[in-house]
Amino acid sequence: MNRNASDILIVGGGAAGMSAAFAATSGGGTNITIVDDNPHLGGQIWRAELGKVRNADAAKLIEAIEAGRIGVVNSAQVFAAVSENKLLAETPNGTTEFEYKKLIIATGARERFLPFPGWTLSGVFGAGGLQALVKGGLNVKNKRIVVAGTGPLLLAVADYLNSKGANVVAIVEQASARNINRFALGLWNSPAKLIQAAALKKRLFRIPYLTNTWIANVTCGSPRVSKGVTSNAAIKSLSLNLNRNGKTQTIECDHLACGFHLVPNTELAALLGCKIEDGFVSVDGFQRTSLNNVYCAGEPTAIGGVEASLVEGKIAGYAAADNEERSRELFTKRDKTRRFGNALNTAFALRGELKTLADNATIVCRCEDVQYEKLAAFDDWRTAKLQTRCGMGPCQGRICGPATEFIFGWKPGPVRPPIFPVKLENL
């Protein structure tokens, strides 16, 4: 087994983790390591495109990290904790043990997915999911794409796909125009965001933004199974039925990119025993968790966008480097990003109608193929899990857990190691 010992260990190389690392060095910390499961730094918003991070600010931050004395371990996924201050990560070369004095958890968020008839068809992706695939080299030029679900991520994804030559047919947003407008008005308090929003609106003005609208179901004309390699990637079209204020509208497209805002990745924090409240990791002003030497920054503490992740990362980084004065200077800024995050989450709250999208035969747990009707009979996650295997597959309930929490109100069960499936020889 490989070993690594750091004074400050950071799990997650996204906006929060990188800004924590940079603050920790500039605050006087030494012997700092970032461990991340992607091949490149950047996290979600700054995910590398064919190996390169395009955003100028992010590229600068990465350069500073690589030039500074910060260790970066990519393609390493933390899956377990051994003893009080050691974590295990699976890497392409086996398991590495990471020992730390202080730990900063910056594991980000994932998309929330909700089951509806047809959501398991190929051609249906997450919204951020399709964006990530395109950043990984998938060509979407001239593809007809519908971006659907909820949240500001839909706009970012539509903008991105548009810039890659896709034909974004519509953006389908379940939230009401009233809620979104109220949220947009709140942006007057943050001019930078307002300018961003205005620029985005200008770029997307040709694309219909259908509010109060959601996907009822998706079908595919001919069964979409292709295993043979073809020179001309022939895609069979998807037919989407939308529910628009009670009326049905049908749209044809090649891909559906659909996600319902974000859920925090709290598994590592929960595994270590950090206090979790209402689904998020509890932290104090210095981003310290209920464990004295463990900090948490970015989306596991609240869904608040990249600005929130950056400032929380800084606060945690300074604090972990014993430079609490510099952390304190950022409290006001952090609190402002929190208010923005709260307004965002209120504006894009899920409507109750989405709980009834799945029909009896719709698969809810994609790992174990558990259908809605099998689950509807149970009162809680634990019993459903034991009786149906829902949530027992390799994703460990990361996809069906947030869905069943929304649909049935089931609270997630305790987190057990390994938090990601690991090859036997690496356990």
Partner: protein
């Protein structure tokens, strides 16, 4: 450009492409079969849903969305 073998056909892809992107770009949409036999492909694109699993260089159940292509890599889907 580098050359990989996808379901026994040679294809050439740009460096730093993910295995998932190169599979989709080749017109293949059957990544794996679900436990009840449905065809599945990538959902999350970020390594959490495990829907994009394929066989890479003989090792089964590898997440194709978080793996980058390498010269001579052999990928089998829908096993």
């Amino acid at each position: 450009m580098i050359t990989i073998k996808l379901n026994n056909s040679d294809i050439s892809v740009e460096e730093n492409t993910t295995v998932a992107a190169s599979i989709l770009s080749s017109g293949v949409d059957a990544f794996r079969r679900s436990v009840s036999g449905e065809v599945r492909g990538p959902l999350c694109g970020m390594g959490v849903c495990f829907e994009c699993r394929v066989t890479i260089d003989g090792v089964r159940h590898q997440r194709s969305c978080t793996t980058l292509v390498a010269d001579g890599m052999e990928i089998i889907t829908d096993e």
